[in-house]
């Protein structure tokens, strides 16, 4: 057994002839919360999709709890403890809130599912009140809670979240940030992708900065948040973000 619950080594991925990830290393320890930040188009979504298997890794390896899952189909990785809250939430809008949650618990025993449901309703009381409502009729923030709760129903070892605060009103962003903070410190490790670095750095202890398909910086969140170069060049927080970056071309195929 390795010390990592999730371990990606030299992972590359491509869309047609264009390589979007050029060999990424990312490791997550049990129960740890890490964040993956980077400008729009850096490859964050692609990396998460590659980890769960929605995009095939063209090079490198992915290990989950020590198993090499690089060639496993999406559903098998999910059953082995990997959960993704996808970009844009993707709730089953025609299903009730409760049915969405139950799908998340699919494959677990009856008692475990019942207990998980109680847990999720505890965490998100608004979902308990709306359990019979169509998920599609909920507000964006509530749908995000459905998506997170649905992923938690599987009691995953690793929970990947792709921009969970995107498109939400500021007050709801604060609420979701609190929810994510509340998820840390338990059994489930978290990989949080955020363009909102405020949220990212509050939730995670450790961070990766992804730029054009390569990890550019990694370290404690405390160091990353004060690193002026990170702030300026990689997170697009100042006017310098408009300048061309002194980095390898995204089309470079061999590292």
């Amino acid at each position: 057994m390795t010390e990592y619950v999730l371990e990606a080594r030299g992972v590359a991925a491509r869309y047609g002839h264009i390589e979007a990830l050029h060999g990424v290393d990312l490791t997550v320890r049990a129960g740890e919360a890490v964040t993956l930040v980077g400008a729009n188009g850096a490859g964050k979504t692609t990396l998460l999709k590659t980890l769960v298997g929605l995009v095939a890794a063209t090079r490198g390896s992915i290990r989950l709890r020590g198993h090499d899952v690089t060639r496993w189909p999406v559903q098998k990785r999910a059953r082995a403890g990997l959960a993704l809250v996808p970009e844009g939430r993707h709730v089953f809008s025609g299903l009730s809130v409760q049915d969405n949650l139950l799908i998340g618990g699919h494959g677990r025993g009856r008692t475990a599912v019942r207990r998980a449901l109680v847990d999720v309703y505890d965490r998100f009381p608004v979902l308990a009140r709306r359990r019979r409502q169509r998920a599609g009729s909920l507000s964006g923030g509530e749908q995000q809670m459905v998506a997170i709760g649905r992923a938690l129903m599987a009691a995953p070892d690793v929970l990947l979240l792709d921009e969970p605060t995107l498109g939400l009103a500021p007050i709801v962003v604060a609420e979701v940030t609190d929810i994510l903070t509340g998820l840390t410190g338990g059994h489930t490790a978290i990989v949080l992708v955020e363009q909102n670095t405020e949220t990212a750095f509050r939730v995670a202890q450790r961070g990766y900065v992804l730029d054009r398909g390569l990890i550019r910086r990694t370290g404690d969140v405390a160091d990353l948040r004060t690193d002026p170069e990170v702030r300026a060049a990689y997170l697009g927080e100042t006017s310098r973000s408009q300048e061309p970056l002194p980095l390898p071309s995204p089309r470079k195929v061999t590292p």
């Binding site: 996808p86 299903l95 139950l102």
Partner: protein, 287 residues
């Protein structure tokens, strides 16, 4: 005898068959993205097995079991042996394979059972139902009852069981369902199995009304497809309505024009629907 009542009753009866075929096509399409043009052949198989069972002296319950088991086995075999191995080709190309499967099923049935018609007695013998000034065979009532029962059973399965929940989730968003651990292959198999069971039900009620032979599947499949398209290919309820519409149009044309125009008019309806309301008659266009 009132011809209007006769045509309506006969049209609705044929329509229930098309409805069940259409529901099967819509279900498979929703879950897998594939249009299964072999669906009509499964109705043929169900009808033929039922009639053969009756001719062979089996009691009705055993003849029904034979038809359902045989048809479901054929549906599962098609998914396992033809659809699943080729799934990497994607739904568009798999549609061609379903046409191949349809020819294969028909060929096997012709070889095994010959081209002759086979006969099954009505469920309740020759009894008739009195309606206004006319009367019609009780078999038409069975038709309505069994179709309603099959559709209700499917509805309950989809809405009240965890398998149904997974099927619906897969139909709505396949990749997200996979992220929850739901296997699309398992769902595809389940959809083909359920569609075959619906086809068997359709064949069993059809057999006493229209003695089946090994060649009736093609027309049934195309009319069921028309029913599903009228319903928008997405809605099971829409496919039921579509099936009844096709049955009524067909009966009306047969009664008031000539049976020679029957199929032409039905396919004109299909063509017009595809051209003018590609999302079905019941759906808002453009959605």
């Amino acid at each position: 005898m009132s011809p209007l009542v006769d045509f309506t009753v006969a049209g609705l009866a044929a329509g229930t068959t098309y409805a069940l075929v259409g529901v099967g096509i819509a279900l498979v399409h929703q879950v897998t993205g594939i249009i299964n043009f072999a669906q009509g052949e499964f109705v043929m198989l169900g009808a033929l097995l039922y009639a053969l069972g009756c001719e062979g002296g089996l009691p009705v319950s055993l003849a029904i079991s034979l038809a359902v088991t045989g048809t479901v086995a054929a549906g599962v075999a098609m998914q396992v042996l033809i659809i699943a191995p080729a799934r990497a080709a994607g739904p568009d190309r798999l549609i061609m394979l379903t046409i191949g499967a349809s020819i294969l099923v028909q060929g096997l049935c012709l070889t095994a059972f010959g081209a002759d018609q086979h006969f099954a007695p009505p469920f309740s013998g020759e009894s008739r139902v009195q309606f206004l000034t006319t009367s019609f065979s009780t078999q038409y009532v069975w038709c309505a009852v069994l179709t309603a029962g099959a559709v209700a059973g499917l509805w309950l399965l989809l809405n009240r069981t965890s398998w149904g929940r997974m099927l619906r989730a897969t139909a709505m968003d396949r990749d997200t369902a996979r992220l929850m651990g739901v296997s699309p292959q398992a769902m595809s198999l389940l959809a083909f199995l359920l569609a075959a069971a619906l086809a068997a039900a359709a064949g069993i009620v059809l057999a006493p009304l229209q003695p089946p032979d090994a060649t009736i599947g093609v027309a049934l499949g195309l009319k069921g497809f028309t029913a599903a398209v009228i319903g928008g290919l997405g809605s099971l309820f829409g496919a039921v309505v579509g099936g009844l519409v096709v049955g009524l149009v067909e009966a009306g044309v047969t009664g008031y024009l000539s049976s020679g125009y029957r199929d032409v008019i039905v396919f004109a309806v299909l063509l017009l629907t595809l051209m003018l309301r590609p999302h079905g008659l019941l759906r808002r266009s453009g959605s």
